[in-house]
Amino acid sequence: MLSYIDRKSPVHQLTGVTKLICFILWSTAAMLTYDTRILLFLFLISILIFIISKIKLEEILFVLLFILVFLFINNVAIYVFSPQEGVKIYGSSHVLFEISGRYNVTLEQLFYQLNITLKYFTVIPAALLFIVTTHPSEFAASLNRIGVSYRISYAVSLALRYIPDVQRDFRNIARAQQARSLDMSRKEKLPKRIKNAASILAPLILSSLNKIDTISNAMELRGFGKNKKRTWYSARPFQKSDYFAIALFSILFIVTLIITFHDGSRFYNPF
């Protein structure tokens, strides 16, 4: 699911630190701006980077769909709570049709929500890409390099690392339970399926807790947490391409900010 995918690509070759810095610049830019032109531009670039990374869409499809569901809920919520937000921002109202009371559909509102959606689309692929193209061991090293405490960095990278393990345990336990007739396939009715799924959770949590116990003992026995700092075996020195990538993203960042703020508004107004 969210584990490292090994490929040979220019994106993989960048150090974790570079990717992290670029990702932060990228998402800050996308967060600050509501300028549709910039968002569209960033979105196209993120697709381009995605292609360069040689990661296939289906490899991250599950997470992507998961996030899209949230995006949809978010969009609905925005409309329900603030149907006139677009009108307020763009200062005009092109009503398409009325529903009732303050609920009508305006071009402005649709445009505003399109921008929100675009923001998601620019940030999410980048975030996913950062996670799946950064080797977990380098992941911790790069978080630490930009100032996150190494304990937290390690905790995050361990969590990511254990995702495949937990998945494997889950599969094993699920099958063992199925072998005791606890059916989780579509043949069973939904409430029963949920109840049966719960009987996997208990052993899964127990075995995960056991794992945590073992690993924390192993780490402590080898001196984890002794000093304020630590060095990293898998930290990689910067290459030319790293400097180049950081420079490129910094320029991108500055340019987007200039375009966004030069007319005093974060919004691009076509109306």
Binding site: H135, P136, S137, R161, D169, N172, I173, R175, A176, Q177, Q178, A179, R180, S181, L182, D183, S185, N196, S199, I200, L201, A202, P203, L206, S207, N210, K211, T214, I215, S216, N217, A218, M219, E220, L221, R222, G223, F224, G225, K226, N227, K229, R230, T231, W232, Y233, S234, A235
Partner: protein, 576 residues
């Protein structure tokens, strides 16, 4: 005088979670450069001794500690776990759980990273340490792709980078196939000689550890040290038998033959052992009886025909495997780690679908049946009971499978009670499962499968991590089930289990079936032994060494005799 590196003086320890102390007034000295083996049954406190030495007690597991424990002359409670980790390097039991780094190199470097060693220096030290354990070609490899033995060597290298004074091994053989275990002991021996480290090994597989020289054996039972002597001396006593630790088989055979062992005979080292002195006794004992092995020809219950399987396209995990199991049989499945044994059982239970071939049950093709459908006929007991248990109380856990099948309440109660009685768990039926020992939990999982009344039960390593008494309990229990008509298949690394309890063994290597024969024959075929990473039994070698004709018969005779002795023993135990 030799330097003392570990000194327990009047040392006791009680875990907060327990009522009684686990260690009681321990006195123990371990000297520099010594190689010491600590043995004892489960729950004897041997692991606790290990935890005290490496500092997990009191820094990770809390409890009450009295008396004194000094490591390298310093009182451990005045140190911290980090200072201790510089002196004591621990290789934990579970090779998977203790990996922190993702690649071999990174894992070996972990301790160095925590010491803020500069990267360049780190690369050199890692290279040296990996050379010592013969893993220097694997530095960029992912730890998860290694074999069990390689994993253990990586863990060993990971503690070697610290130049520790004491190496502590917690059950180093637990997850290894027999040949890899032998290799591990040889490697530990080599490293100890090269670096003059003090080595402490905690293990109950005594015969396998004695494959290489050990200076001293400490026997722990019920929280106290009951013996502290040289292996030669210990083997001449009855202490091991009394504490339920399995003696080396050749020693047991010699003792059965009525031969008096003395220290001068060097019984601990098979190669040096003066077995000739026992030759007469052995021959007499051998001729004394003529063993017969009852062979029952049953109907075929399960048949695999030309099964192939691969997890990912390209590499075949199982290659064209065919075999059949007869009704009422008890069969071992053996082979090296990763040979495809577990995969075969998964295919049988329907957890995975074969890419070609078919599986027949009572003559009917079940290749396309679902897991649930097959579960009515075939029960699977996984190696780790924690992977199966999902209820809080024993009764509920065993009843779970019946409940979801919609069996009537009254019938559930009757069937569960019956099963619990068979499994010896009836008195505990209203206990929470968390109060049970590992072995008892294992029984609960067997009971929860048994209650569904499958015709075949498949067990993955039924006795892994069990001491000799629990091992015997579980196996005798399975024999009883077998007598009642349940067909049993077992995956095992334990050569003696295979010899003693299963007439037939199916041997796997590299995804192929390489032998399907009587267990005795398998273990006397050097070719198969080597291909499948098995280990010849010392009984067979004893027969060769003492020039007993028909060594195979000798092995059979021993097993027959041993079982009789133990059955009489257990009958006595019931009487009293």
């Amino acid at each position: 005088m030799r330097k003392r590196v570990i000194e327990f003086h009047n040392f006791s320890f009680k875990y907060h979670s327990q009522k009684n102390p686990t260690l009681k007034n321990i006195h123990l000295n371990i000297y520099e450069g010594e190689k010491v083996l600590i043995v004892g049954p489960s729950g004897s406190g041997k692991s606790t001794i290990g935890h005290c030495i490496n500092g997990l007690i009191p820094f990770s597991y809390k409890g009450e500690m009295t008396g004194s424990l000094k490591v390298m002359g310093q009182e451990t409670k005045e140190l911290n776990i980090f200072a201790l980790s510089k002196m004591v390097g621990t290789v934990l039991q579970d090779p998977d759980g203790q990996f922190i780094g993702l690649t071999v190199g990174e894992d070996i470097a972990f301790a160095l990273e925590n010491d803020c060693t500069p990267q360049k220096e780190m690369f050199e030290i890692v290279k040296d340490a990996s050379k010592m354990v013969e893993m220097d070609d694997y530095l960029p490899a992912s730890v998860h792709h290694l074999s069990g033995g390689q994993k253990q060597r990586v863990s060993l290298a990971g503690v070697m980078v610290d130049k520790v004074d004491i190496l502590l091994f917690d059950e180093p053989l637990a997850n290894l196939d027999p040949a890899t275990g032998k290799y591990a002991m040889a490697l530990i021996d080599k490293i100890q000689k090269e670096t003059n480290t003090t080595v402490v090994i905690i293990e109950h597989r005594l015969e396998d550890v004695l494959y290489r020289h050990v200076d001293r054996i400490i026997v722990v039972n019920d929280g106290s040290i009951v013996a502290d002597m040289s292996p030669d001396q210990l083997l001449t006593t009855n202490i091991l038998e009394e504490t339920n630790i399995r003696e080396p088989l050749y020693i047991k055979a010699v003792k059965y033959a009525g031969c008096e062992l003395t220290e001068d005979m060097h019984p601990a080292d098979f190669n040096q052992f003066k077995a000739d002195l026992c030759r007469k006794n052995l021959l007499e004992w051998f001729e004394d009886s003529n063993p017969k092995t009852p062979s029952k020809e049953g109907k075929t219950i399960l048949e695999l025909k030309n099964i192939s399987f691969s997890y990912s396209s390209g590499h075949e995990t199982i290659k064209d495997v065919s075999f059949s199991i007869n009704k009422g049989e008890m069969v071992s499945i053996v082979g090296k780690n990763g040979a495809g044994k577990s995969t075969i059982t998964k295919l049988i239970c329907g957890f995975e679908k074969p890419s070609s071939g078919s599986i027949l049950f009572n003559g009917k093709d079940i290749t396309n049946e679902t897991i649930k459908e097959r579960s009515l006929k075939i029960g699977m007991v996984m190696q780790n009971p924690n992977h199966m248990i999902s209820k809080h109380m024993i009764f509920d856990e065993v009843a779970l499978g019946l409940k979801v099948r919609g069996v009537a309440e009254a019938e559930i109660k009757e069937r569960v009670d019956n099963t619990l009685k068979i499994c010896g768990l009836y008195p505990f039926r209203n206990w929470p499962i968390s109060a049970l020992s590992f072995g008892q939990k294992k029984r609960v999982t067997i009971a929860s499968i048994l209650v569904l009344e499958p015709e075949i039960i498949i067990l993955d390593e039924p006795t892994a991590g069990q001491d000799f008494r629990h091992y015997t309990d579980i196996m005798e229990f399975l024999v009883q089930l077998n007598r009642q008509g349940v067909t049993i298949m077992m995956i095992t690394h334990d050569m003696h289990l295979m010899l003693e309890y299963t007439e037939r063994a199916i041997v796997f290597a590299e995804g192929r079936k390489i032998a399907d024969d009587l267990a005795v024959n398998v273990l006397s075929d050097i070719d198969i032994i080597e291909q499948a990473n098995l280990k010849e039994t010392s009984l067979y070698n004893l027969a060769l060494k003492t020039g007993i004709p028909e060594p195979r018969k000798f092995v059979e005779r021993f097993i027959e005799y041993d079982r009789e002795v133990r059955q009489v023993g257990s009958r006595d135990a019931i009487l009293y």
